[in-house]
Amino acid sequence: MRDTLGGGVAVWDRFWFTPQSTAPLAVLRVAFALIVLGWTVSLSTGLYTFLSPHGLLPQQPNLSQIVYPGAWGFLGTFTSQGALLATYIVLLVAAFLLLIGLGTRAAAVVVFLCLLALERRDPWVLNSGDILIRVLAFYVMLAPTGAALSVDRWLRVRRSGEPWLAFPLRSGWTLRLLQVQLSLVYISAFWDKTGGETWRAGTAVSYAFRIGDLHRFPLPHWLLTSPDASTLMTYGTLVIEFGLGFLVWNRILRPWLLLLGIALHLGIDYTTRVGFFSYAVIALYLAFVPPERIEQLAAAIRGRLARGVAAEAPAAAGAPEPL
């Protein structure tokens, strides 16, 4: 009994706390910050319309009824247009600091609080992409995303002689949380679809692509209306979502599933007005990218930079003095 318990604790410890390279987290932070910057800039067109006291919704709605008791956002307390504008500007600045990794932890906390406040202010304009951005903000806030590829790291290593382009090891629990979240997204999406008769009948994707108000770029008419193509795309979507939910934990299948997922989401982004949904999902995929791949890329960049410096040095030594 004690052995079983001890074994369980060891498995738990290994899964959550084994030190992992911070490479995926650092790249995810950069991708996430770019998405938040894009999201925030795109909100400028509707900031006052959707969120101000003079817009569509003069007050923050009762979140206990619409979301769940416990939901909150500080724009429910600070209701003025000035507070809204300040939140918007602070979010822009914090997202930029998160991007470059300066004061990374504080920037991530501010990004999370501002996103939460803006999204809670008007839940009627949110799609799944907005929700995923908010959820990602929570994990990014907990993770050591500034440990690499950041100004914070440069400030730490500039006197020690350590290379800037390196990825220290940190406890892996935040990366694991992101991976579990990705799995949950697809298990939930798959399960919700299996209850729908159009998904079971193989017609769902054809209907989804023909929703006129969501239409973005065109697809050939035959592809949208062909029963065979629709069946293939519908069942293909279900297979990919099942795979990303359950089989993404398998090392051999993982790269193929992630590539299929990227293709699926770029297809959705091409055809449908889903805002930042596809990019947020693809950013979450970075939690599953093997650190070795990112580190190999970093090593190649470092090598190229070092060769460039070495090649320039003799030329500079023989160069005439500037006048």
């Binding site: 909100l43 319309t49 304009v125 940190r170 579990v180 919700d192 729908g196 023909r210």
Partner: protein, 174 residues
């Protein structure tokens, strides 16, 4: 600081407890609706909502809409003039990254049990189109719908039809 906490036994126990509860709360939130889920949600829902981890991945599920929708506001002014207002729509390249918010607003507004949003939309349109000396007197909200037929059927979609579902009269009306 974080590394020190993660490195200590006590720190790992605290983090493990938080992880266990968080993952459990996420699983409960994402679970299919059932009496058990509703029961467990009482214990975990506040935590999930307070941390902003409430989520819904039912994209095009359980079924995608079979209807294409438009929300139109017909506006009458006090001087007898009338005008139509339609949802702002952006271009395909960049506009798709802001006008999806209007599309979500439309979906919620058109749903039959969302009367407060009908009122909010009518008020917004009236405020936006009113001019000094020519206030808005009435706003009618209408839904235009075209139902898509199953793939392979002809025609692929039914003709558009319009249903007015709400109207609001404003005090400036004669």
């Amino acid at each position: 600081m974080q590394s020190r906490i993660e490195g200590s036994r006590a720190g790992r126990i605290v983090i493990s407890a938080a992880l266990l509860f968080t993952v459990f709360a996420l699983v409960v939130w994402n679970a299919p609706d059932s009496p058990l889920r509703r029961h467990l949600l009482v214990a975990t829902g506040r935590y999930t909502a307070a941390l902003g981890l409430d989520q819904n991945w039912a994209v095009f599920a359980p079924n995608p809409r079979t209807d294409s929708l438009k929300l139109i506001a017909s506006v009458q002014f006090a001087n007898g003039r009338s005008e139509n207002w339609a949802l702002p729509r952006g271009g395909s390249i960049l506009g798709a990254y802001w006008d999806y918010r209007w599309l979500k607003w439309m979906e919620w507004t058109i749903s039959p049990d969302n009367r407060p949003l009908w009122q909010a939309t009518a008020n917004y349109v009236a405020r936006r189109l009113s001019r000094p000396g020519t206030p808005v007197s009435r706003v009618f909200l209408a839904e235009e719908t075209s139902t898509n037929n199953p793939p392979g059927a002809r025609p692929s979609a039914e003709p558009w039809f319009t249903t007015t579902f709400f109207h609001e009269q404003f005090p400036s009306a004669p």
